[in-house]
Every structure is written in structure tokens, then in C-alpha cells.
Amino acid sequence: MKKWLSIALGILTATGGFVDVGAMSTAGQAGAKFGLGLVWAMLLGTLAIILLVEMTGRLAAVSGKTYADVLRERFGFKFYLVPLSSDLIANMFLLAADFGGMAIGLALLTGASWHTMVPLAALAIVIVVWRAPFGLIENGPALLGLVTLTFWVAIFALGGPKPQLVQTLWQPEIEPGHLAEYLFLAAAILGAVISPYLLFFYSSGAREERWSRRSLGVNRATALLGMGFGSTTAVALIILSAMVLAPQHIGATSLQEIGLGMSAALGSVGSTLFAIALLVTATGAALEVSLAVGYNVSQGFGWEWGEEKLPAEAPRFNLVLIGYVLVALLVAIIGPDPLQLALLGSAFTALILPIALAPFLLLMNDREYLGKEVNGTAANIATILIVALAFVVAAVSIPLLLLSGP
């Protein structure tokens, strides 16, 4: 019974925690500008993240070590500094965007200026990561994030997409001069969905919860069903934006605009639900990104780490966390609009994907860590394809960013 409850909780939290500000921004813009023509990118990214999350969970459960631990042990500290430093830069944009998302969610609920809410958002994150236990951080916002399922309710309330719109699933309508923007959004969606921070957070979470070989079932169910269901909420946002924003030429260039889809379908209840969804998902992602950074740095340098430990027991882990939050706060205050920050963060994540993902090819075939749980042929082929995709996305993301000028 306890095992089934654990599986159900894992699925629910992965579902509710899938969407963050990056996924919301890219999904909203994709639907508003290209109808359903970028749903394929979301599905492709979801397939990749399901496989990668399952692998990192398996690695942590069987070896008793996190992905960061194994990276450092297997390739050495100098090599580890490469994914660590690139991840720190990408996560800075994402964390700042998440602070902005939280602030906008609060502003939409209260009518206050979102700029004044940004420090409050950062303060809330500092307090929670300082005091709350891991279980609460992992499960609380993710369960509340199930509110994103109301995006589907809105689609049904509007009567579903018309056949002409459905056709853009396989026949995307790309107007002249918009090809670069289309491809940039595809790369940004992949960057937003295949987030390396999620992998580091997931494998550290597996260690926090003391996963063992017996947890492999929970791992598979969480990765497959949780991530699978979670991605449907992002797809729903693409559909909703395509149905409501695109016909009015609204480009979804701010998070506030994306909520107009919910308001058109469900009235003021819908817009309030969108504001709550934005607040909750941004909070969950901000917590995950902050913790992932603390884990990465501490595990890389061999320091004490763990959210279950008291701050005095893992002082450097907590110091890194707080320092990083403060720097991200500064970026959020002086940087561009949160949606632009999220797009930049997704593009930069796309750029560094090969660095974070290429080691999977070797690690997941290392019997020293995985015993008989190493990858099979099919998993290896899938990993090669994902790494190849990561190289392509990395090569095109920045030129396309400059061309499309979001």
C-alpha cells in the first residue's frame, strides 16, 4: 500500500511540477504565433526528458550516488567544472525568470506592481530552502501545480480547437520571414523541457529519499507517467494560446498576455486560476533550481549537503544556496521582462545541453555503478539520438536567437 502511495505521489508531483516559467513562456508564444505547429517540439522534449529522468533515477537508486557525484568521480574534478559552470549561468537566467514569474503571479492576484514583488519572491524562496524539509519542497508546490490541469478545462469550455487549427499540427503555418522565429522557439522549447537542473535535482532527490534498487518501479512510473501527464499541461497551453491569442494577433510577449486564454474561457475565475498556476509553478521551479545549484556545487567540491540536514550541519551548502538566490535576485531586478529572461535561459540551456547530456552515453553503460541495470541496446540508441539532438539544438540556438530577436 505504501509503495502504491509513493508511486501515486511521485506521478502527481511530476505532473504538477512539469510546467515552469520557461515552459509557460515558450508554450504560450508557440501557440500564439504558430498554432499547433510546435506541439511536436514539446512531445519530442518530453520523450527525451522521460528517458533522461529515468536514467538519472536508476543511476542514483542503484549506485547510491547522484549524477553530479558520478560525473566528478568518473571524469575528474576539472571536467566536472565545465558542466557545473555552464549550468550555473543557465540556471541564473531561469531562477531570475522564476522570481519574475512568482512576482507577476502575485501582482495579477493583488493588482500591485510586479517589480515590487520580486524581492518578496526571493525572500520567500530563501525562507523555504532554509527551513523547510525536502519532502515539503518537493511535494508542496508540485501538488498545488495540479491547478495547471485547468488549462484543459478551458479548452473544453471553448469547444476545443477547430479542424483548421488541428491541421497546423502536421502542416505548420509559417508566414514569410518567420522561419527563424519558428526554429528558435522549437530550440527554446527543447531547452525548457530538457532542463539539466531537473536531472541534477531528481538524482539528488533520490538520494535525499534514500532510494535503492527497490525504488526502480517508483522511478519508472514517476518518469513515464508523471512527466508524460505533466507535458500535457504545456501542450494545453499551446492549444489555448492558439485558440484565443493567435486570432487576435496577440504575440504572448508577456506572461500576463498568456492568461487571457483562461479568461476568455472561464472568465475572472479563469484569470485567477492562471495567476495561481503561474505563482505556484514558478515557486516550485525556483525552489528546484536553487536546490539543484546547492547540490551541484556541494557535491562537486565534496562538501556536506542535504535539505534534511540543519544549516549548521551543511553550512557551505546553505551559503551557496542563499548567495546564488541573491545574485539571481539582482538579475531579476536589473534584467529584462521575466518572459524574455525565460526565453534567454531556455536558449542558453539549449546551448549547453550537449555538455550535460553527453556523459550519459558512458555512465549508463558503466557496470561499476549500475551492475546489471546498465542501459540496453534500445536505451543506448535513444541516448545517442538525444545527444545528437542536443548538439543540433546547441549549434542553432544562439544564431536563431539573434535572428528572431525576441
Partner: protein
């Protein structure tokens, strides 16, 4: 090199069209927000927080558009619409329908500018 080549091959729009489309999107969102508020489909808090973002976005986009040569009618529509963004009519007694017309008018003008 890649950026210049792809730009020349028509993968991206000229800056003028990009700016006009971006501004049209913002003004259209403002019109939709104002209409939704007065139809009871949006809370006043949501509308107030949204208009803050619209003002910030439009300021940058409108400055960019004015640096290009645009028709006089579009200039005038931009003035009216920008005024509506600065002081939106959230109360029923105020002429919100006039503002809505201004916002929708500038969207038409900007989309026409982007297309030329």
C-alpha cells in the same frame, strides 16, 4: 556569418516589420484586457498588473517604430493608443469604449505597416 546569411535568405523579418508586429501584439493584448474587464471576465487586479507590463513593452516598441518612416495616420493612432495605455479606463463611467476603438485602430495600422 550564419546570422547575416540566414537574414538575407528571408528567414527573418526586417526590423521595422518585427517592431510593428510586436507593438501590434501588445496593443491588441491591451484591447482584449480592457474589453474582458468591462465584460466581467477579468479582475481589476489582473487588468492593472497587465497594463503595467503593456506600458513597459509599448514604450520600447513605439520608440523603435517612430525611428522608421511611418504614415501620419499611424503616428496619430500611436499617440491615442499610448495615451490609453497610460491612463486606461477601468471604471464604467469613463470612455473605455473610445479607448478600445483607439487600441484596435492602432493594431490595424501597425499590422498594415508590418505587411508593407
Amino acid at each position: 556569418l550564419i546570422v547575416t546569411s540566414l537574414g538575407a535568405c528571408g528567414w527573418s523579418q526586417p526590423a521595422r516589420a518585427q517592431l510593428a508586429e510586436e507593438a501590434a501584439g501588445t496593443f491588441s493584448a491591451a484591447a482584449a484586457t480592457l474589453a474582458a474587464l468591462h465584460e466581467g471576465k477579468l479582475t481589476r487586479q489582473y487588468a492593472a498588473a497587465s497594463f503595467e507590463a503593456f506600458r513597459e513593452q509599448a514604450t520600447a516598441a513605439v520608440e523603435g517604430i517612430r525611428s522608421f518612416l511611418i504614415p501620419e495616420t499611424a503616428e496619430q493612432s500611436l499617440d491615442w493608443a499610448t495615451a490609453a495605455l497610460r491612463a486606461p479606463c477601468f471604471d464604467p463611467g469613463c470612455d473605455w469604449e473610445g479607448q478600445l476603438e483607439s487600441l484596435r485602430g492602432v493594431v490595424r495600422e501597425l499590422l498594415a505597416t508590418a505587411a508593407t
